[in-house]
Protein backbone atom coordinates (compact mmCIF):
# COMPACT_ATOMS: atom_id res chain seq x y z
CA UNK A 1 0.00 0.00 0.00
CA UNK A 2 1.45 3.32 -0.88
CA UNK A 3 0.61 6.86 0.06
CA UNK A 4 1.55 9.96 -1.85
CA UNK A 5 1.70 13.31 -0.15
CA UNK A 6 1.97 16.66 -1.90
CA UNK A 7 2.28 20.08 -0.34
CA UNK A 8 1.04 22.81 -2.66
CA UNK A 9 1.40 26.53 -2.18
CA UNK A 10 -1.58 28.91 -2.54
CA UNK A 11 -0.58 29.41 -6.16
CA UNK A 12 -0.45 25.62 -6.62
CA UNK A 13 3.33 25.35 -6.81
CA UNK A 14 4.40 21.98 -5.44
CA UNK A 15 6.72 22.57 -2.48
CA UNK A 16 7.22 19.08 -1.19
CA UNK A 17 6.23 15.56 -2.08
CA UNK A 18 6.61 12.23 -0.39
CA UNK A 19 5.88 8.66 -1.33
CA UNK A 20 5.36 6.37 1.58
CA UNK A 21 5.05 2.61 1.42
CA UNK A 22 3.12 1.35 4.37
CA UNK A 23 3.78 -2.06 5.79
CA UNK A 24 0.41 -2.17 7.45
CA UNK A 25 -2.17 -4.44 5.84
CA UNK A 26 -5.29 -2.88 4.41
CA UNK A 27 -7.85 -2.22 7.08
CA UNK A 28 -10.90 -2.45 4.87
CA UNK A 29 -11.82 -4.58 1.94
CA UNK A 30 -11.90 -1.64 -0.41
CA UNK A 31 -8.83 -2.95 -2.19
CA UNK A 32 -8.14 -6.57 -2.79
CA UNK A 33 -6.40 -8.03 0.26
CA UNK A 34 -3.91 -10.01 -1.75
CA UNK A 35 -2.78 -7.03 -3.77
CA UNK A 36 -2.29 -4.83 -0.74
CA UNK A 37 -0.25 -7.42 1.12
CA UNK A 38 2.22 -7.78 -1.66
CA UNK A 39 4.95 -5.20 -1.95
CA UNK A 40 3.75 -2.60 -4.38
CA UNK A 41 6.76 -2.70 -6.68
CA UNK A 42 6.16 -6.34 -7.53
CA UNK A 43 2.64 -5.82 -8.72
CA UNK A 44 3.73 -4.33 -12.02
CA UNK A 45 4.92 -7.61 -13.41
CA UNK A 46 2.03 -9.58 -12.06
CA UNK A 47 -0.70 -6.98 -12.37
CA UNK A 48 -2.76 -9.04 -14.77
CA UNK A 49 -2.30 -12.29 -12.86
CA UNK A 50 -2.98 -10.59 -9.58
CA UNK A 51 -6.30 -9.12 -10.59
CA UNK A 52 -7.32 -12.47 -11.93
CA UNK A 53 -6.24 -14.26 -8.75
CA UNK A 54 -7.71 -11.91 -6.22
CA UNK A 55 -10.97 -11.21 -7.97
CA UNK A 56 -10.34 -7.54 -8.40
CA UNK A 57 -13.10 -5.00 -8.15
CA UNK A 58 -14.81 -3.82 -11.27
CA UNK A 59 -13.07 -0.48 -11.02
CA UNK A 60 -9.62 -1.95 -11.41
CA UNK A 61 -10.74 -4.25 -14.15
CA UNK A 62 -12.30 -1.45 -16.08
CA UNK A 63 -9.12 0.41 -15.63
CA UNK A 64 -6.97 -2.41 -16.90
CA UNK A 65 -9.01 -2.45 -20.01
CA UNK A 66 -7.98 1.16 -20.55
CA UNK A 67 -4.30 0.45 -20.44
CA UNK A 68 -3.36 -0.50 -16.91
CA UNK A 69 -0.64 1.97 -16.07
CA UNK A 70 -1.87 3.41 -12.80
CA UNK A 71 -1.33 0.63 -10.35
CA UNK A 72 2.34 0.08 -10.85
CA UNK A 73 4.02 1.88 -8.00
CA UNK A 74 7.71 2.33 -7.45
CA UNK A 75 8.21 5.48 -9.47
CA UNK A 76 7.23 4.57 -13.01
CA UNK A 77 3.76 5.95 -12.53
CA UNK A 78 4.92 9.11 -10.88
CA UNK A 79 3.37 11.26 -13.55
CA UNK A 80 0.02 9.53 -13.21
CA UNK A 81 0.02 10.09 -9.47
CA UNK A 82 0.90 13.73 -9.98
CA UNK A 83 -1.85 14.07 -12.52
CA UNK A 84 -4.44 12.66 -10.13
CA UNK A 85 -3.25 14.98 -7.38
CA UNK A 86 -3.35 17.97 -9.67
CA UNK A 87 -6.75 17.06 -11.04
CA UNK A 88 -8.16 16.96 -7.54
CA UNK A 89 -7.11 20.58 -6.98
CA UNK A 90 -10.15 21.81 -8.86
CA UNK A 91 -12.44 19.85 -6.60
CA UNK A 92 -10.57 21.04 -3.52
CA UNK A 93 -10.85 24.63 -4.60
CA UNK A 94 -14.56 24.28 -4.97
CA UNK A 95 -15.02 22.66 -1.57
CA UNK A 96 -12.75 25.15 0.15
CA UNK A 97 -15.14 27.95 -0.74
CA UNK A 98 -18.07 26.30 1.01
CA UNK A 99 -16.65 24.06 3.69
CA UNK A 100 -14.96 25.69 6.66
CA UNK A 101 -13.14 22.57 7.82
CA UNK A 102 -9.41 22.33 7.36
CA UNK A 103 -9.43 18.56 6.95
CA UNK A 104 -11.40 17.56 3.87
CA UNK A 105 -12.11 13.84 3.79
CA UNK A 106 -11.90 12.03 0.49
CA UNK A 107 -12.53 14.93 -1.84
CA UNK A 108 -11.96 12.94 -4.97
CA UNK A 109 -11.73 9.37 -6.24
CA UNK A 110 -9.85 8.05 -9.21
CA UNK A 111 -10.02 4.31 -9.71
CA UNK A 112 -8.56 2.84 -6.54
CA UNK A 113 -7.04 6.11 -5.37
CA UNK A 114 -8.85 8.24 -2.84
CA UNK A 115 -7.70 11.82 -2.46
CA UNK A 116 -7.82 13.43 0.99
CA UNK A 117 -6.85 17.01 1.55
CA UNK A 118 -6.05 19.46 4.30
CA UNK A 119 -6.17 23.19 3.71
CA UNK A 120 -4.51 25.60 6.12
CA UNK A 121 -5.98 29.05 6.79
CA UNK A 122 -3.27 30.49 4.55
CA UNK A 123 -4.63 28.36 1.69
CA UNK A 124 -1.73 25.94 1.68
CA UNK A 125 -2.96 22.58 0.43
CA UNK A 126 -1.81 19.18 1.63
CA UNK A 127 -2.99 16.46 -0.74
CA UNK A 128 -2.75 12.77 0.09
CA UNK A 129 -3.45 9.91 -2.29
CA UNK A 130 -4.29 6.69 -0.55
CA UNK A 131 -6.03 3.41 -1.23
CA UNK A 132 -7.63 2.32 2.00
CA UNK A 133 -9.96 4.27 4.25
CA UNK A 134 -8.19 5.49 7.34
CA UNK A 135 -9.81 8.75 8.35
CA UNK A 136 -8.46 9.05 11.87
CA UNK A 137 -4.94 8.12 10.91
CA UNK A 138 -4.89 10.55 8.01
CA UNK A 139 -6.31 13.27 10.20
CA UNK A 140 -3.57 12.82 12.79
CA UNK A 141 -0.99 12.65 10.03
CA UNK A 142 -2.20 15.90 8.48
CA UNK A 143 -2.23 17.51 11.88
CA UNK A 144 1.43 16.73 12.38
CA UNK A 145 2.33 17.87 8.90
CA UNK A 146 0.47 21.09 9.61
CA UNK A 147 2.52 21.71 12.72
CA UNK A 148 5.74 21.03 10.83
CA UNK A 149 4.64 23.28 8.00
CA UNK A 150 3.84 26.18 10.35
CA UNK A 151 7.29 25.80 11.84
CA UNK A 152 8.88 25.82 8.39
CA UNK A 153 6.90 28.86 7.43
CA UNK A 154 8.15 30.82 10.45
CA UNK A 155 11.59 30.76 8.89
CA UNK A 156 12.08 34.25 7.44
CA UNK A 157 13.85 32.79 4.42
CA UNK A 158 10.87 30.66 3.51
CA UNK A 159 8.42 32.13 1.02
CA UNK A 160 5.28 30.70 -0.49
CA UNK A 161 7.30 29.50 -3.47
CA UNK A 162 10.32 28.02 -1.72
CA UNK A 163 10.48 24.25 -2.07
CA UNK A 164 10.90 22.67 1.35
CA UNK A 165 14.26 20.95 1.35
CA UNK A 166 14.91 20.69 5.07
CA UNK A 167 16.14 17.23 6.00
CA UNK A 168 14.65 17.57 9.44
CA UNK A 169 11.25 18.34 7.95
CA UNK A 170 11.55 15.34 5.66
CA UNK A 171 12.56 13.03 8.49
CA UNK A 172 9.71 14.22 10.69
CA UNK A 173 7.10 13.82 7.97
CA UNK A 174 8.38 10.33 7.23
CA UNK A 175 8.27 9.43 10.91
CA UNK A 176 4.69 10.55 11.27
CA UNK A 177 3.72 8.79 8.03
CA UNK A 178 5.17 5.62 9.49
CA UNK A 179 3.23 6.17 12.67
CA UNK A 180 -0.22 6.92 11.23
CA UNK A 181 -0.44 5.53 7.70
Amino acid sequence: MSHHLFLLSPSDTPLYSLTHYSSKPAQTTATSPLASNLPSWSTSAFAGTLTALSGATSATQAHHAQGGTVRIGGGQDRHVIQMIANASLDVIEEIVRKDNMMYLKSVDKFNEWTVSAFVTPGNMKFVLLHEARNDDGIKSFFHEVWELYVKTMLNPFHTAHTPIRSTVFDARVRASAKKYL
Binding site: V96, G122, N123, H143, K151
Partner: protein, 242 residues
Protein backbone atom coordinates in the same frame (compact mmCIF):
# COMPACT_ATOMS: atom_id res chain seq x y z
CA UNK B 1 71.61 41.28 33.63
CA UNK B 2 69.39 41.06 30.68
CA UNK B 3 69.63 37.29 30.47
CA UNK B 4 69.19 36.60 34.17
CA UNK B 5 65.49 37.29 34.65
CA UNK B 6 64.50 35.61 31.44
CA UNK B 7 64.99 31.94 32.41
CA UNK B 8 63.48 32.62 35.83
CA UNK B 9 60.48 34.15 34.23
CA UNK B 10 60.03 31.27 31.88
CA UNK B 11 60.39 28.73 34.68
CA UNK B 12 57.85 30.59 36.75
CA UNK B 13 55.36 30.79 33.97
CA UNK B 14 55.79 27.15 33.09
CA UNK B 15 55.12 26.10 36.66
CA UNK B 16 52.17 28.44 36.83
CA UNK B 17 50.65 26.80 33.79
CA UNK B 18 51.36 23.39 35.22
CA UNK B 19 49.79 24.16 38.55
CA UNK B 20 46.75 25.77 37.05
CA UNK B 21 46.33 22.79 34.78
CA UNK B 22 46.63 20.54 37.76
CA UNK B 23 44.07 22.43 39.79
CA UNK B 24 41.46 23.24 37.19
CA UNK B 25 42.01 21.35 33.96
CA UNK B 26 38.76 22.40 32.43
CA UNK B 27 39.47 26.11 32.72
CA UNK B 28 42.98 25.80 31.37
CA UNK B 29 41.90 23.79 28.36
CA UNK B 30 39.36 26.37 27.30
CA UNK B 31 41.68 29.32 27.86
CA UNK B 32 44.78 27.98 26.10
CA UNK B 33 44.86 25.15 23.67
CA UNK B 34 47.44 23.03 25.42
CA UNK B 35 48.52 19.92 23.62
CA UNK B 36 49.22 18.32 27.00
CA UNK B 37 45.55 17.85 27.81
CA UNK B 38 44.22 15.36 25.29
CA UNK B 39 41.74 13.78 27.65
CA UNK B 40 39.93 17.08 28.15
CA UNK B 41 39.83 17.77 24.43
CA UNK B 42 38.22 14.46 23.63
CA UNK B 43 35.70 15.05 26.37
CA UNK B 44 34.71 18.34 24.85
CA UNK B 45 34.31 16.89 21.37
CA UNK B 46 32.50 13.82 22.62
CA UNK B 47 29.88 15.87 24.42
CA UNK B 48 29.11 17.95 21.32
CA UNK B 49 27.41 15.39 19.09
CA UNK B 50 25.42 14.15 22.08
CA UNK B 51 23.49 17.45 21.99
CA UNK B 52 22.56 18.02 18.33
CA UNK B 53 21.81 21.52 17.14
CA UNK B 54 18.30 22.49 18.06
CA UNK B 55 16.15 23.36 15.10
CA UNK B 56 12.83 25.15 14.87
CA UNK B 57 11.22 21.72 14.53
CA UNK B 58 12.23 20.87 18.10
CA UNK B 59 10.51 23.84 19.65
CA UNK B 60 6.83 23.92 20.50
CA UNK B 61 4.61 26.40 18.70
CA UNK B 62 2.41 27.17 21.64
CA UNK B 63 2.71 30.53 23.21
CA UNK B 64 4.85 30.58 26.28
CA UNK B 65 4.40 33.04 29.06
CA UNK B 66 6.60 36.13 28.90
CA UNK B 67 6.91 35.75 25.14
CA UNK B 68 6.18 39.40 24.63
CA UNK B 69 8.59 41.70 22.86
CA UNK B 70 9.72 44.85 24.61
CA UNK B 71 7.97 47.88 23.13
CA UNK B 72 11.13 49.99 23.16
CA UNK B 73 13.11 47.28 21.41
CA UNK B 74 10.43 47.06 18.76
CA UNK B 75 10.30 50.84 18.40
CA UNK B 76 14.03 50.92 17.67
CA UNK B 77 13.71 48.12 15.17
CA UNK B 78 10.74 49.69 13.46
CA UNK B 79 12.41 53.08 13.29
CA UNK B 80 15.35 51.39 11.56
CA UNK B 81 12.93 49.70 9.19
CA UNK B 82 11.37 53.03 8.28
CA UNK B 83 14.73 54.74 7.88
CA UNK B 84 16.10 51.90 5.78
CA UNK B 85 13.06 51.97 3.56
CA UNK B 86 13.06 55.73 3.25
CA UNK B 87 16.60 55.74 1.87
CA UNK B 88 15.55 53.47 -0.97
CA UNK B 89 12.39 55.08 -2.25
CA UNK B 90 11.24 58.22 -3.98
CA UNK B 91 7.99 59.56 -2.72
CA UNK B 92 5.56 58.80 0.03
CA UNK B 93 3.50 56.35 -2.01
CA UNK B 94 6.53 54.24 -2.70
CA UNK B 95 7.49 54.28 0.97
CA UNK B 96 4.04 53.18 2.03
CA UNK B 97 4.03 50.44 -0.56
CA UNK B 98 7.33 49.09 0.68
CA UNK B 99 6.19 49.13 4.29
CA UNK B 100 3.07 47.34 3.15
CA UNK B 101 5.18 44.64 1.48
CA UNK B 102 7.21 44.16 4.64
CA UNK B 103 4.03 43.85 6.67
CA UNK B 104 2.68 41.32 4.20
CA UNK B 105 5.51 38.96 4.99
CA UNK B 106 4.73 39.27 8.68
CA UNK B 107 1.02 38.81 8.10
CA UNK B 108 1.42 35.51 6.27
CA UNK B 109 3.15 34.09 9.30
CA UNK B 110 0.83 35.70 11.80
CA UNK B 111 -2.14 34.08 10.11
CA UNK B 112 -0.72 30.56 10.10
CA UNK B 113 0.73 30.73 13.57
CA UNK B 114 -2.34 32.33 15.11
CA UNK B 115 -4.70 29.79 13.60
CA UNK B 116 -2.45 26.98 14.67
CA UNK B 117 -2.47 28.23 18.23
CA UNK B 118 -6.22 28.69 18.24
CA UNK B 119 -7.28 25.59 16.35
CA UNK B 120 -4.66 22.93 17.01
CA UNK B 121 -6.41 21.69 20.10
CA UNK B 122 -9.83 21.67 18.45
CA UNK B 123 -11.18 18.36 17.27
CA UNK B 124 -11.99 19.62 13.80
CA UNK B 125 -9.89 22.68 12.97
CA UNK B 126 -11.79 25.32 11.04
CA UNK B 127 -11.01 28.18 8.70
CA UNK B 128 -12.96 31.36 8.20
CA UNK B 129 -14.85 31.38 4.94
CA UNK B 130 -17.24 34.28 5.45
CA UNK B 131 -15.93 37.80 5.24
CA UNK B 132 -17.52 39.42 8.29
CA UNK B 133 -16.38 36.79 10.80
CA UNK B 134 -12.94 36.99 9.21
CA UNK B 135 -12.94 40.75 9.66
CA UNK B 136 -14.02 40.35 13.27
CA UNK B 137 -11.21 37.91 13.91
CA UNK B 138 -8.72 40.35 12.41
CA UNK B 139 -10.09 43.07 14.64
CA UNK B 140 -9.76 41.03 17.81
CA UNK B 141 -7.47 38.06 17.36
CA UNK B 142 -4.89 39.33 14.91
CA UNK B 143 -4.66 42.62 16.77
CA UNK B 144 -4.33 40.81 20.04
CA UNK B 145 -1.64 38.50 18.68
CA UNK B 146 0.36 41.35 17.15
CA UNK B 147 -0.29 44.34 19.40
CA UNK B 148 -1.61 42.74 22.57
CA UNK B 149 -5.00 44.48 22.46
CA UNK B 150 -8.00 44.41 20.13
CA UNK B 151 -8.52 47.24 17.63
CA UNK B 152 -10.96 49.95 18.57
CA UNK B 153 -13.63 49.82 15.89
CA UNK B 154 -14.79 48.35 12.62
CA UNK B 155 -16.73 50.52 10.21
CA UNK B 156 -18.40 49.88 6.92
CA UNK B 157 -18.25 52.55 4.30
CA UNK B 158 -21.60 54.16 3.54
CA UNK B 159 -20.79 55.12 -0.03
CA UNK B 160 -18.98 52.01 -1.21
CA UNK B 161 -20.16 48.50 -0.42
CA UNK B 162 -16.68 47.07 -0.89
CA UNK B 163 -14.93 49.24 1.69
CA UNK B 164 -14.42 48.41 5.33
CA UNK B 165 -12.33 50.16 7.95
CA UNK B 166 -10.51 48.98 11.02
CA UNK B 167 -9.77 51.82 13.41
CA UNK B 168 -7.02 51.95 15.99
CA UNK B 169 -7.06 54.98 18.28
CA UNK B 170 -3.40 54.71 19.21
CA UNK B 171 -1.42 52.18 17.14
CA UNK B 172 1.49 50.92 19.27
CA UNK B 173 3.93 50.73 16.36
CA UNK B 174 3.69 54.42 15.47
CA UNK B 175 3.53 55.72 19.03
CA UNK B 176 7.13 56.90 18.90
CA UNK B 177 7.07 58.24 15.38
CA UNK B 178 6.34 61.86 14.61
CA UNK B 179 5.97 62.45 10.91
CA UNK B 180 7.46 65.70 9.55
CA UNK B 181 4.97 68.29 8.34
CA UNK B 182 5.96 68.00 4.68
CA UNK B 183 5.20 64.29 4.73
CA UNK B 184 1.95 64.58 6.57
CA UNK B 185 0.21 62.09 4.30
CA UNK B 186 2.55 59.32 5.37
CA UNK B 187 1.18 56.74 7.74
CA UNK B 188 3.68 54.24 9.01
CA UNK B 189 0.75 51.99 9.82
CA UNK B 190 1.10 50.86 6.22
CA UNK B 191 3.03 48.08 7.84
CA UNK B 192 -0.11 47.08 9.72
CA UNK B 193 -2.09 47.41 6.51
CA UNK B 194 0.30 44.89 4.96
CA UNK B 195 -0.37 42.47 7.81
CA UNK B 196 -4.12 42.83 7.30
CA UNK B 197 -3.76 42.38 3.56
CA UNK B 198 -1.79 39.15 4.01
CA UNK B 199 -4.33 37.74 6.44
CA UNK B 200 -7.23 38.56 4.12
CA UNK B 201 -5.37 37.20 1.11
CA UNK B 202 -4.56 33.99 2.92
CA UNK B 203 -8.16 33.48 3.92
CA UNK B 204 -9.20 34.00 0.32
CA UNK B 205 -10.48 37.57 0.41
CA UNK B 206 -8.15 39.46 -1.91
CA UNK B 207 -8.22 43.16 -1.09
CA UNK B 208 -6.20 46.34 -1.30
CA UNK B 209 -5.43 47.62 2.16
CA UNK B 210 -4.07 51.07 2.95
CA UNK B 211 -3.49 53.09 6.10
CA UNK B 212 -4.62 56.67 6.68
CA UNK B 213 -4.21 59.18 9.47
CA UNK B 214 -7.57 60.25 10.76
CA UNK B 215 -6.77 62.33 13.83
CA UNK B 216 -9.47 63.73 16.07
CA UNK B 217 -9.14 66.38 18.76
CA UNK B 218 -8.75 63.88 21.57
CA UNK B 219 -6.97 61.17 19.63
CA UNK B 220 -4.13 62.65 17.58
CA UNK B 221 -2.75 59.22 16.62
CA UNK B 222 -6.01 57.73 15.38
CA UNK B 223 -5.38 55.58 12.31
CA UNK B 224 -7.78 53.99 9.87
CA UNK B 225 -6.90 50.84 8.00
CA UNK B 226 -8.96 50.96 4.84
CA UNK B 227 -9.87 47.66 3.19
CA UNK B 228 -11.04 47.75 -0.40
CA UNK B 229 -12.26 44.31 -1.38
CA UNK B 230 -12.00 42.87 -4.83
CA UNK B 231 -15.22 42.28 -6.66
CA UNK B 232 -14.83 38.50 -6.53
CA UNK B 233 -15.14 38.61 -2.75
CA UNK B 234 -18.47 40.40 -2.88
CA UNK B 235 -19.76 38.00 -5.52
CA UNK B 236 -18.78 35.05 -3.39
CA UNK B 237 -20.43 36.50 -0.30
CA UNK B 238 -23.57 37.01 -2.31
CA UNK B 239 -23.47 33.39 -3.47
CA UNK B 240 -22.90 32.08 0.05
CA UNK B 241 -25.85 33.98 1.50
CA UNK B 242 -28.40 31.53 0.20
Amino acid sequence: MHAAPHPRFSVLSASAVQSSEHLSPAASSTRFSLPSAPSINTNATASKPAVPRQTIYDRPLNKIRAAEVSASAFSFLFSEVVQYTQKRVNGINDLERRLNTLGYRVGLRVLELMSYRNEATAKAPKREIRFLPALMSIHTQVWRAVFGKPADAIEKSVENADEYMIIDNDPPITRNISVPRDMSQLSCSSFTAGIVEAVLDGLGFPARVTAHNTPTETLPNRTTILIKLEKSVLDREEALKT
